[in-house]
């Protein structure tokens, strides 16, 4: 029997099998940031040891950096201490740091691919659940806790159990105005927020293959929202073209060798999955969420359901109450007060270009606060070079500096209590964007349309 792509990468990284389920997995790349690393560095200090393979580790500051005046000291004292602690730790342990002010700084899952650090066939971890983003390059990438950050620091390995394998096929072609964010919100609505627990997902099919690398990242990014450990897509010519020439990509003879290996990274035709789903791209429309987990989504043209299964009824009622919405109500036409375009899900050049194309020559609806937060310094620089910042500011958007920002409101970019925010981020949990904030997840196109109209609209018709 053949092997899946996931098996091929996993098996190539097993250092040792502890028992039938626990294996010691070698980690090729370790990304760290200021929030989930300080206690791991403290652990090393307590043990009197350093990093086992510091040259496979990269740090950046992203979660609680401000998105204006980044050249000034961080005002909020706790955030400042955490970012300064990262800087001190990276100096003490000699770790590569793209800190605040560095030209490569940005959201960890934006800069990894952008710098060519993320490459097919790798195992990649980070103390952040959206590490699954890197799966778009045909990697096994997953989020870990702080104890595991310390384990990787100390040994470049992790003790893990192998997840089960799922494949999701999206057949056919997407319709106009439907983006990769809509695909993943659609899958979440179909399979629920727990539907992938215990699995690693491979996304395949014509609709997936025809996506750009950045669009693929959006899908893999939200694999975790299904509870899956991660999601990956087989590397192809688009993947190789994306990587070639980037700062940390192989070159010369190394490129030739790498490419030969990367081309072997695909699921064999006779490989088996524990679970497989197939959906039609033509059934996918622009999607939004109405509840307080990313599985509570619907087509923008649909009404909020009357209810969910009995075991979910309490969560459903609590969600609607929190969101200030009613069962059976249409989601279109709902007045919104905030729009956030950013986060590791949708803050890359393509996202910004899509939004800019829509808003060019239009104005943000009065009373709506609309923010664009590029995923990295490089994205920001490129957007400015293309004049997108002007398009946005002329339309009434704030064009801010790079960071995680209002995705999780660890800095000052919070959504006020009780207000709606159409957000291109990944989580609509209660309080995610600030206490009492009401998040509606959507694609950059749907979010841009909401900013202009001041309400949820179908971006294909408005």
């Amino acid at each position: 029997m053949g092997k899946t792509l996931f098996d091929k990468i996993w098996d190539a990284h097993v250092v040792h099998a502890v028992n039938a389920s626990q294996e010691v997995l070698y980690i090729d790349r370790h990304f760290i940031h200021e929030v989930t690393s300080p206690q791991a560095f403290a652990g090393l200090r307590d043990r009197g040891i350093g990093l086992f393979r510091k040259d496979q580790t990269v740090a950046t500051a992203d979660h609680n950096v401000p998105t204006i005046n980044q050249h000034l000291p961080i005002e909020e004292p706790l955030s400042r201490i955490q970012v300064e602690t990262l800087t001190k730790n990276c100096a003490e342990f000699d770790v590569n740091l793209f800190g605040l002010g560095h030209e490569n700084q940005g959201i960890v899952h934006v800069i990894g691919p952008e710098l060519g650090i993320t490459q097919p066939g790798m195992t990649i971890v980070c103390g952040d659940s959206h590490t699954s983003t890197h799966g778009a390059f045909g990697t096994i990438a997953f989020g870990i806790g702080t104890s595991q950050v310390e384990q990787v620091f100390a040994t470049q390995t992790l003790l893990v159990s192998k997840p089960k394998k799922m494949r999701i096929n999206i057949e056919g072609q997407l319709s106009e105005g439907v983006l990769s964010k809509d695909i993943i919100l659609y899958l979440l609505a179909k399979l629920t927020a727990g539907g992938g627990t215990g699995y690693f997902i491979e996304y395949a099919g014509e609709a997936i293959e025809s996506l750009s690398m950045e669009a693929r990242m959006t899908i893999c990014n939200m694999s975790i929202e299904m509870g899956a450990r991660g999601g990956l897509i087989a590397p192809d010519q688009k993947t190789f073209d994306y990587i070639q020439g980037r700062d940390y990509a192989p070159s010369g003879q190394e490129w030739t060798e790498a490419l030969a290996y990367w081309k072997t990274l695909k699921t064999d035709s006779d490989a088996e999955f524990d679970l497989e789903y197939t959906f039609q791209a033509s059934d996918i429309e622009p999607m939004v969420t109405y509840g307080t987990n990313p599985g509570m989504g619907l087509k923008v043209t649909e009404n909020i359901p009357s209810g969910l299964s009995s075991s979910k009824q309490e969560s459903f009622s609590k969600s609607l109450e929190y969101m200030g919405l009613q069962a059976d109500q249409p989601i279109q036409g709902l007045a919104i007060q905030n729009v956030f375009i950013g986060s590791c899900t949708n803050s890359r050049m393509e996202d910004l270009r899509i939004a800019a194309k829509y808003v060019q020559g239009k104005k943000v609806k009065e009373g709506v606060r609309a923010m664009i937060v590029p995923g990295s310094q490089q994205v920001s620089k490129q957007a400015i070079a293309e004049g997108l910042d002007k398009i946005f500011t002329e339309a009434g958007f704030e064009f801010r500096e790079a960071g995680c920002s209002a995705c999780l409101g660890m800095n000052e970019d919070k959504i006020p209590m009780g207000e709606y925010c159409v957000s291109t981020s990944n989580r609509n949990f209660e309080g995610r964007q600030g206490p009492g904030a009401r998040t509606i997840l959507a694609s950059p196109l749907t979010a841009a349309a909401a900013a202009i109209h001041g309400k949820i609209v179908d971006p294909r018709e408005n």
Partner: protein, 203 residues
């Protein structure tokens, strides 16, 4: 890490499904650089109202329920990988969380901190929740050595699964890192025998 062998205690029911780690510990409380104090902010936005006053309708503020066992709905701990969620639950005083399903990362984080994520069948979960709603003083016994959980006093019990290695760690208070450090030679062998090696990052 603290050992966990046998626990007999009352429990706090939280039947909602899909309780995510942003609820367990909201992001704005993740700014500490040590592991202390997270218990104070456990379930903060459910526990306190917008004026930071205790919300009397939330279960942790209901004096009828107490104990070191949390009984929660399916898919507990989904969302963010923040280990702070495990630190907060442990810091508050929980030693066991019972649910019919745990999110992967949370489960690993809990086990790395001496907090047992105990998975039971949906039927048994319903039974516990039902029992707790009729008698908040119901005691639950968790026996890790024998791998069973039972309701007292009638002894209605269910066996549970746990990885042998993880069980050994919990019973003895060991964490993974000591074990991994002991494998240094194997790891170096692995590195020198790889057929394809990704180059290091530093230029």
């Amino acid at each position: 890490m603290e050992k966990l062998v046998l626990l007999k205690d009352t429990a706090v029911p939280m039947p909602m499904e899909d309780i995510d780690t942003d609820q367990i510990i909201p992001a704005r409380f993740l700014k500490a650089i040590d592991k202390k104090g997270f218990g104070d902010n456990l379930f903060y936005d459910w526990r306190y109202d917008k004026n930071d006053k205790p919300n009397s309708s939330f279960i942790l503020n209901n004096p009828i329920y107490s104990g070191s066992i949390l009984v929660a709905g399916k898919n507990f701990g989904c969302g963010s990988s923040r280990e702070h969620a495990a630190w907060a639950l442990f810091g508050y005083g929980f030693r066991v969380v019972i649910s019919s399903y745990f999110a992967d990362i949370f489960k690993g984080n809990a086990l790395n901190n001496g907090l047992l994520p105990l998975q039971v069948s949906p039927e048994y979960l319903d039974l516990i929740l039902d029992r707790l709603s009729t008698d908040p003083n119901t005691e639950i016994e968790v026996n890790l050595e024998e791998q069973y959980v039972q309701l007292l006093p009638d002894g209605h019990r269910e066996k549970f699964e746990i990885d042998d290695y993880k069980k050994m760690c919990l019973l003895n208070g060991y964490d993974d890192i000591d074990y991994l450090l002991s494998l240094e030679d194997k790891i170096k062998d692995f590195e020198s025998n790889r057929s394809y090696v990704h180059k290091t990052i530093r230029k």
